[in-house]
C-alpha cells in the first residue's frame, strides 16, 4: 500500500535521478553530508516533505551504519526498490571513494600542507553552522509540542554537552519518548 504522494513520485524519479541526487549530496558535503541531503531531497527536488525527512532520518539514526549511507538506502528503496537503493548508494559512495584514495596517495607522496589545514579549518567552521541550521529546521516540525522539545533537549544535552556515548542514550530515551507519544496518542 502506497499513498498518493509516493505513487506519483515513483513515476517521476528515475534511477539516474537517484544516482545524481546523491552524487550531488556527497560532492557538496564538505564537513558533513546530512545538511546537503536535506537541502537536496526536501528543498530542491521535493522528493520528501519536512516531516518525511525527519522520519526517514530517525530510522537511519537508530540503525547502525553512517546516517547518510542509510538514508541513500531508505530513499532509493522507497522510490525504486532494490535497484533504487543501489543507485542512490553508488551515487553517494563511488566518487568520494576514488577521491579519498587519490588524496591518500597524494598525502603519501607530498605530506600535508599547513595552508590546506587552515582552509579546511574555515570550511569546518561554516559546515558546523549548516548542521545547526538543519537541526533547527527539523525541530520546527514539533516546536509546539512541549514534550517533544523536552526529549530533544535531553538527547542534545546528553550526547552534546555531556558527551555521553550515543548508544545508551538512545536505548534509554527512545523507548521513553515513544511511550509518552503512545500514551498521549
Amino acid at each position: 500500500m502506497k499513498d498518493e504522494v509516493a505513487k506519483e513520485s515513483t513515476e517521476r524519479i528515475s534511477l539516474g535521478a537517484l544516482f545524481s541526487a546523491f552524487l550531488r549530496i556527497t560532492l557538496s558535503g564538505f564537513g558533513g553530508t546530512l545538511p546537503w541531503a536535506r537541502r537536496t531531497l526536501v528543498g530542491e527536488r521535493r522528493w520528501l516533505s519536512d516531516r518525511e525527512f525527519v522520519d526517514a532520518l530517525s530510522l537511519c539514526q537508530f540503525l547502525p551504519g553512517p546516517n547518510v549511507v542509510n538514508l541513500s538506502i531508505v530513499v532509493g528503496r522507497r522510490f525504486r526498490g532494490a535497484a533504487g537503493a543501489l543507485s542512490a548508494f553508488a551515487g553517494l559512495v563511488v566518487a568520494p571513494f576514488l577521491i579519498v584514495l587519490g588524496l591518500g596517495v597524494l598525502y603519501a607522496r607530498y605530506g600535508r600542507l599547513p595552508e590546506i589545514d587552515r582552509i579546511l579549518g574555515g570550511i569546518s567552521a561554516a559546515a558546523a553552522g549548516l548542521v545547526w541550521a538543519m537541526g533547527l529546521q527539523m525541530a520546527g516540525t514539533f516546536a509546539r509540542v512541549p514534550r517533544s522539545v523536552a526529549f530533544s533537549l535531553m538527547a542534545a544535552l546528553a550526547t552534546g554537552l555531556l558527551r555521553w556515548p550515543i548508544l545508551p542514550v538512545i536505548v534509554v530515551l527512545a523507548p521513553l519518548s515513544i511511550a509518552v507519544a503512545w500514551r498521549r496518542g
Binding site: V68, A82, G122, S148, S177
Partner: protein, 175 residues
Amino acid sequence: MKTASLWELAALFASLSLVAVGGANTVVPEMHRQAVEVGGWMSDGEFANIYAIVRAAPGPNMLISTLIGWEAAGLPGAFVATAAMCVPSCLLVYAVSHIWDRYRHARWRRDVEAGLAPVTVGLVLASAYVLTGAADHSWRAYLVTAITAAISLATRVNALWVLALAGALGGAGLL
C-alpha cells in the same frame, strides 16, 4: 608496519558496521585500537592523518575504512574494508525499511515516529554543538559558524559559496 589479511579486514569492518549506531564516528576509537595497537598496520600519526584526509574530502566519514584498508593491505584492502563497512548495515537498513513501509498506516508506527523524531533532532543538534567545539578556536570562527547558520536558515543562497568563502578566510589566516 605489518600488513593485514583481507579476511581480517572484512571481519573487522563488517562487525563495526553493525555496531556503528550514530555513524562511523562512534567506532573511530575502535578502528584506531585495531589498526594501531592490535594490528600494527600503521602508526598513531598515520592514523591521525588518515582521519584528517577523510574529513577534508567530500562524502561520508565512513570512508576512513577505505584508507585504513589501503594502508593495511593495498588496493584490495581498500575495496574489502569499504565494502565490509557498508554491506551489513545497508542490508539491515534495507530489510527494516521494507518492513517499516509495510506498516506505514499503522497507529503504532505513527507513535514510534512521533517518539523518535525529537530524539533524532536532539542528536543532530548535539552533533552541531560538538562540531562547533572542534572547529572553532577563535571568536571569528564562532562568528562564521553563526553567520552560516543564519544565512542557511533565512536565505536560499547556495551554501557552497558560504563554505568557499569560509575556506578562503581560513586560508588567509583570518580565523
